[in-house]
Symmetry: C2
Subunit: 176 residues, 2 copies
């Protein structure tokens, strides 16, 4: 399995849709059905994004999500950390101090400071994180906008609005 999971992929794609959505954003269910994703699974991802302060939710029948700040101020690193919880690249198990030469009593120089291997891994992880922090939701959205025709984005916007209108009611009769 890859280090960055599909939860991250789902999360970023959803946030991209929120870039175009207005003040009254779609629900997690709308986003799931639009993209062919499990609605219940996506519903477990959004609370993490909200706790990280990336989106704001509104409850009730007209509820939904919207970005809590400008897309240019949301980095991919923030999204990854929000969903994966700052998962380390490398999990040092202190192999060196397990050496059988010093039976269960490693000397100070063996445990002092950080393991050289671990240090190299931390440098690699920092390089990755720095790269992720240089891409923002806005910059990714710009690439998508350049690819997709404007008509398509309008259609999706209309789809969201229709979903929103079709909520509520449905008690006695359907409009026809």
């Amino acid at each position: 399995m890859a280090h960055l999971t599909v939860s991250v992929e789902y999360g970023i794609h959803c946030l991209l849709w929120l870039v175009d959505a207005g003040e009254h954003g779609p629900s997690s269910r709308d986003l799931a059905e639009l993209q062919g994703i499990s609605p219940t699974f996506l519903a477990k991802i959004f609370p993490k994004l909200e706790k990280a302060g990336l989106v704001q939710s509104s409850g009730g029948v007209q509820g939904g999500y919207r970005l809590s700040r400008h897309p240019d101020e949301i980095t991919l690193l923030q999204i990854v950390d929000a969903i994966e919880g700052d998962k380390p690249l490398f999990d040092c198990r202190q192999v060196r101090s397990r050496c059988s030469m010093y039976a269960d009593d490693p000397p100070k120089w063996a445990t002092d400071g950080i393991c050289a291997i671990h240090a190299a891994m931390i440098r690699a992880e920092d390089a990755m994180r720095t790269s992720l922090s240089e891409s923002t939701l806005g910059s990714v959205a710009a690439i998508y906008h350049a690819k997709a025709p404007a008509q398509f984005l309008d259609e999706v916007g209309g789809w969201f609005e229709e979903r929103l209108r079709n909520r509520r009611v449905r008690t006695s009769s359907t409009p026809g």
Copy 2:
């Protein structure tokens, strides 16, 4: 779980011991028992290192492993790739083309080229890999040598030699 597994950690630690071992290196079992690692598990890691051309094996009762080139010419990236098999950081599942707007028939502009999210992840992965390629087995070993007293390294060398001598025989009588 972390992206880089304990297999990588075990592998690097073992290669570090091989830096100090001479032409006649220790067996995977020697290395496992020295470090308190599962011998059978370690025995599954070394063939990968050998396939990648990092170590050379010699079979038989006097067999063992030795580095196949100078430690300064073995990068951490090569070790990681040898053991993990060039595992990608991010596994793009083409969420964008699954959009329910175009039912099962995504237009060309949606599938053309690489996904913008995927591209950002590839940049992050490249940054990580570049960092890993800048650390060599030699540079890591130098840090360890600076920390551990020379006497300790000699003791380990002696331990390996004794293990090697105590192989074979043991049929009728022990030398005394």
